[in-house]
Amino acid sequence: MTSRTYTYLTALIGVICGYVIVRSVLFADSLTVRNDLVQGFLVGAGLGVVAVEILSRIKATRINGWVTVFGCGLPGSDIFTRAACARIFPGPVNVPQEAMYWKTGHGVGHTLSGEHDYILHFPPGGLPPNDAFWSLTMADAKEHFVANPIDRYSVGDRSGLAQNPDGSVDIYLQNAAPADHQANWLPAPAGRFILWLRVYMPGAAILNGEFTVPPVVEARPRR
């Protein structure tokens, strides 16, 4: 289920719950105890879905079109953070000290699509600080790897990225291979895609929030 479908579904549940609540206020005299319990349970569960979605938006940190949550997986975390983490990163994710994750989509930034060419520009010395590894992975709208002619599904610290003369690094996110920049090409599908940035044993600058992931910027439009 894509993020957008989920948002529509959540909105729909919200509307239905609102309708039931309003109706029960207007026709309170016709209610029975059994109705109160059954409707209350169903409406409450529906509102729970809506609440998790709202919590995930409140708890998320969104910068430059990337979304992340700080504090996932920690034993002391509150139920709101746990719910938000389980919504944005649905799985047994690491504690921040072990790994930090960012992804595109989830209602932030513009929708990325292989119909356009993009560049992710890391300034000189601005690659994600870490004591293990970092990786930028391409996925289609269903979060699957993307088939491509060079079997490259991610780029990162071990993929031999070329630096610009000033020490900065450009990663080319596009469907067709970029001329002269094959080493820094992360192949995109023809349609919509999302990106994951994962940094394992992240450096202090990431954990204290100083490091920001640069934006994915659209390159000159293709003709």
Binding site: A28, G40, V43, A45, L74, P92, N94, G156, R198
Partner: protein, 193 residues
Amino acid sequence: MTGYQHLLLFGSVTVAACSLFVYFWPRILLVVYKRAILVKGFGEGPIPVNTLYTEPQAVFADPLRAAPASGSSLITTGVNRDTLLMVGWLDLSKGPQVLHVPDMGGRYYSVQLTDPSNNTNFAYVGKRVTGTEAGDYLISGPDWTGSAPQGMTRISSPNNSVLVVGRTLVESDADISVAYALSKQILLAPLGG
């Protein structure tokens, strides 16, 4: 009952159900993982309880073409082309499990121990927390009263059920078989078994 009382009852049940859903959402999510591990497996049948399963080399090497047709796609879906994944589900109600890790020679790896009741990680074994030397770790449930044998580090789990997720870094395509061989030496065994 008056209309007001009906509304109060309806409202209370609504609030309670909503809170319960938010509270249990992380746990509901991990039920999917439990089922994937113990019931569906990852193409080679279900994973027995108290067993660590390592993703096959071929699947890591060629995730799109070698993905198994049967079983859960949970560990082959997604975004990780950096580490070989290991998964397992522990039941500590019949006694502790011993996690053995080989000398990983400085390589990044981690074994994450997750409490499935709330999706938080109560302990790690791995490069960040315990280093990369060989070692044995005794994972015990909340009711176990014994003490760890000499040479073993004890890890107390708050829950008899534990979701285990392991990751071993792969440096390059040429390194897959080395990383796989190391991963396969990360083992679980019952205490005294």
